[in-house]
Amino acid sequence: MTRQDAVKIALAPVGAAAPVGAAALVAAATAVGRALGVDLTAAALLLLLVVLVATLVGRMAGAVATVLGFLALNYYFTDPRESLDVNKGDDLVALAAFAVASGVLGWTITRLSQLRDEAERRRRESQIRLDLTSRILAGEDPDTVLAGAADALLTLFDLVECTVRAGAIEATARVPGAAGPRVIVQTGGLEVELVPTARALSGNDRALAEALVAGLAAAVDRIRLEAEAREARVEAQVGRTRSSFLSAVTHNLRTPLASIKAAASTLRAPEARLDAHDRAELLETVYDETDRLERLVTNILELSRIRAGALEVHRELVDVRDLAQGAVRRLRPLARAHRVRLDVAADIPELPADVEMMDQVFGNLLENALRFAPPGSEILVTARRVGDEAEVRIADHGPGVAPEDRERIFDEFVRIDARPDATGTGLGLAIVRALVTAHDGRVWSEETPGGGATFVFSLPFTRR
């Protein structure tokens, strides 16, 4: 409250000195005219003076100069001298002509300069609005918009400091210089503090600042709402993903459980007529499905740990060849019917990676290939250097992945295995993606030339 009062006082007294100066000029010109003893020249000089004053100083000074000039001419240069009486009709006409001419000229000139000022002000205003608008549009979140606005207002109003405040966030732009009286403009939820240079802010500028701040407040509101809506959308998406993951987990756990319970309940049912073969088959179902359930539980736990960020990546320098060979060795029992060929480029440096995690990435991808590729076919594992990344490709000649499934296949519980005995958990590739991502790497799938699926992952040599 007190600050705003101070501002009003500071802004009020502007240019009281101009008419006084005009009066002094008229007095000086009169003195010159009298000293030279001329009268027509004096009239012309005074007229010129009025024009100049009106042009350079303004309407008020022009009017003062006109009145004083008229009085000076009348008093000093028309007979009788040193009196306001006029004897000759000629002089009366001259005086009247002077009064009218200087009055009209003065008024016209000040009007013209007013119009020029007005145009200049409007041009500057639109420039300011334009600049501010572009800064608002450029900003995506309230913070950058406020900073941009503070910056724009600072340059445009020639301030030494400008602070824009919207609720809890604020931005200040500052340049060195002497500070004038502080102006505060408040609109909507926005408060703007303008500190002009020693020269106080003009009334026009203040009005303009208010209009701009009002526009800015609306823009900030809009941006804040948009940011909130965006956040809400992201949160809803996360929630949906989480609940769909949970329902997928439930569904996937129940499926092997259903087989186990169905088989076990038949085995112990007194009325079921089972031969030795039936019994063996049901027992095998119980056994296999218990395995599947165990794999599922392990994978789900693993994936949950990675997703929760609870799995720490212990990076050490590892050799890609060692990793690949280790996985091939481990999967040898499964790979008996296939030919697995390893081709690692000699120039690959060691990778900063978690050995256990990479082991699982290789293992899951290789197991996948072995599961799909027909017996006797070749599975080719290659590793080469591409820029500052190592690229590992595992190519099989199995049924391949349809283009529309190549992205989706890395999602949880997505199985594209259409074979009747398919028992995958639908989590292997999801785990691969999570592990590779934890290493700042990427994983994708392609078509093997000649048919089949190729899974590729790339890992950076240097930690990003």
């Binding site: 129940r254 259903a258 169905a262 009747p420």
Partner: protein, 232 residues
């Protein structure tokens, strides 16, 4: 020998079901997708269908809808989802009963036998239904309890007839309301609560251990009275 069509995408479960059903003298035909199931159902005309709701491709509910356009074969749905809405959707789409995974095959067999028994009764509903001491004479529209005439309102009688002519079948709230009250009804399950309560009172059926009408909470009602032929 009755035949059962099993529509289930999970191979191990399909195998376990095949062995379990065959061990109870049921012939088993199999399908892994809804589309395949519809073709087999039209082709082989099974006596009952065991349908998994979580199928790839067209899902179980859609399969059921399409199946109902050409067949009224009894259907028991298998669902891994314990959500009430899915069961109700399946029942409203024309399922006769449901079993939630994981299930005991004894329980499943009981459900399958119940729906298999229902078949001849639907086509040749006996004019008189005996349920313990209760006798429902559909032709004369008269109900007696221990040979005493029970006075029922028209709505009570309609509800009782609908339940009693669908023995063992789980009828949803919506189905009962639409059939007894009319097309505009479907969500007024409180009406059913009131009318079933009145029927139980008049027929001396105890809601705590019912012999005639069983409440399936949140879903509907089921006529569980003993079959006439199983009476002495």
């Amino acid at each position: 020998m009755s035949s059962v069509l099993v529509i289930e995408d999970d191979a191990p479960l399909r195998r376990a079901l095949r062995t379990s059903l065959r061990a109870r003298d049921l012939e088993v035909v199999e399908a892994t997708t809804g589309e395949e199931g519809l073709v087999v159902a039209a082709d082989r005309r099974p006596d009952a269908v065991l349908l998994d709701l979580g199928l790839p491709g067209i899902d179980g509910i859609e399969t059921l809808r399409r199946l109902r356009t050409f067949s009224d074969v009894p259907v028991v749905v298998l669902t891994a989802r314990d959500r009430q809405v899915d069961k109700i959707a399946a029942l409203d789409a024309g399922a006769d009963d449901y079993v939630t995974k994981p299930f005991d095959t004894e329980e499943l067999l009981a459900r399958i036998r119940a729906v298999l028994r229902r078949v001849p009764q639907v086509h040749a509903a006996p004019p008189v239904i005996h349920a313990g001491a209760v006798v429902i004479d559909l032709g004369r529209r008269q109900v007696t309890l221990d040979d005493e005439v029970v006075r029922l309102t028209r709505t009570e009688l309609a509800l009782l007839e609908l339940l009693a002519t669908n023995p063992g079948k789980l009828l949803t709230h919506e189905y009962l309301l639409r059939r007894v009250w009319g097309q505009g009804y479907g969500s007024e399950s409180n009406y059913l609560r009131v009318y079933v309560g009145q029927l139980r009172r008049k027929l001396h059926d105890d809601a705590g251990s019912p012999r005639l009408i069983l409440t399936e909470p949140g879903i509907g009602y089921r006529w569980i009275a003993e079959e006439p032929e199983s009476r002495p």
